[in-house]
Amino acid sequence: MLKLALALARKDLSLALRGAGLVQSILLGLLLVFMFSLSQKTGSLASGQMAAAIFWLSSLFCQTLVFNMLFAFEETQGARTCLLLSPAPVTDIFLGKALAGFVLIFLAQILFFPAIIVFLGQTVSQSWPMGLLMLFLADTGLACLGALLGALSQGQTARESLLSLLVFPLLAPLLLAAISVFAAVFGEQAGEDPTSWIGFSAAFDAIFLAIALMLFRFVYTGED
């Protein structure tokens, strides 16, 4: 059943890694890290909270670019109808796109993380396994909403900016959770037990995964 999803993810990944698409999103993220470091006074170090916020904002911008790219593949080739005609459920297309997006965001984050440590002078505390779990949960949420709403933006600039307008506020709760846990990873004193944030993110993912699986077939149709 997931055959199409895996095949689609593999196709998208090989296309994305071959072209300049992913490089562009990574570059934007790194640039954001650099630009935000301008808000610091010379010589002073960024707080863990701020570093965490910058890390997740970079990931967020990367997410919108990644999903715009993933859905543009079919649009530029006019292959959306072919994809829809294939004898597999439409949800497989969603899963394929979400999986490819998840991998691409994760690849970009592998570069963002050391950049944050180096440029913003952070150290990693002992709660890093919690951070890793949070990374997985938050990326799942980013991929879910990105794959559901990314289908709205098919190549045109006006639509691309609209995607970020929609996705940013929708993801605000998840980002709040991710930033809180990552602040603790960067050694910030956490007042609240991070496990409650982990639970919250898992709930967020579950709700939006279910909604996306139900609604994707209405968004991704053969009409223009």
């Binding site: 909403l145 559901l148 709403l149 709205l152 045109q156 006006a158 639509r159 609209l162 307008l165 929609l166 940013f168 506020p169 929708l170 605000a172 709760p173 998840l174 709040l176 959770a177 809180s180 956490a190 007042g191 609240e192 409650s196 944030w197 919250f200 709930a203 967020f204 709700i207 939006f208 909604i211 609604l215 209405f218 968004v219 149709t221 009409e223 223009d224």
Partner: protein, 234 residues
Amino acid sequence: MSLKQILPALLALAGGLLLAAGWWLIFMYAPTEAIMGAIQKIFYIHLPLSWWALFSFFLVFLCSVAYLVRPGEHLDRIARSCAEIGVLLTTLTLVTGMLWGRKAWGVWWTWDPRLTTALIMWFIYTAYLLLGGLNLSEQRRRMVRAVVGIVAFADVPLVFLSARLWRSIHPAVFANESGGLEPEMKLVALFSVLAMGFFWLGLVLVRCQQLKSQDRIEDLLSTEQNREEQTEQL
């Protein structure tokens, strides 16, 4: 003129009169709050605005679900009008809340769960309204709007929950604000909610009719254009 046509005007008129009566009650009947003084009277405007805003968004959600189950133009029109009026009321809620907050808490803004939720809701539904400008076929645009209407409402409780978790990390700027209301105050508040409800329903109906006329005019224009093109070809 049929009842259907004048109903919105009647409702808006009733709402206006009731709101005027509400103003009288607010200043003449309701007692002045002991600590906050006259500024507390914003509450009688603020509460109905925020309740009806939330209700509008709930209706957007219901209409969106109904549209996906059984597509109908009227459902999309109701959802669109409710979203517009919801955004308007949320804007006013935020403004009145800030005015009150400046006086009562000493700050214009604090990241309290309710405030955060209202602000994020405002962002989400403003983006929802922008979907109308998408260069899509009318049918697909309606579908997209319905999907976003559902996703947006599912987000609202999550925003509230996350903001509450967030706040428990930081000390609260103010303690629990819901001190017991005097019975007179409660009565005036409920009356304001009711008056605003009439006004709200009138606005929604007017907006629905406007959108209906707009759709009809656009339909007529496109048929006319098609006909002209056909005669040119002949």
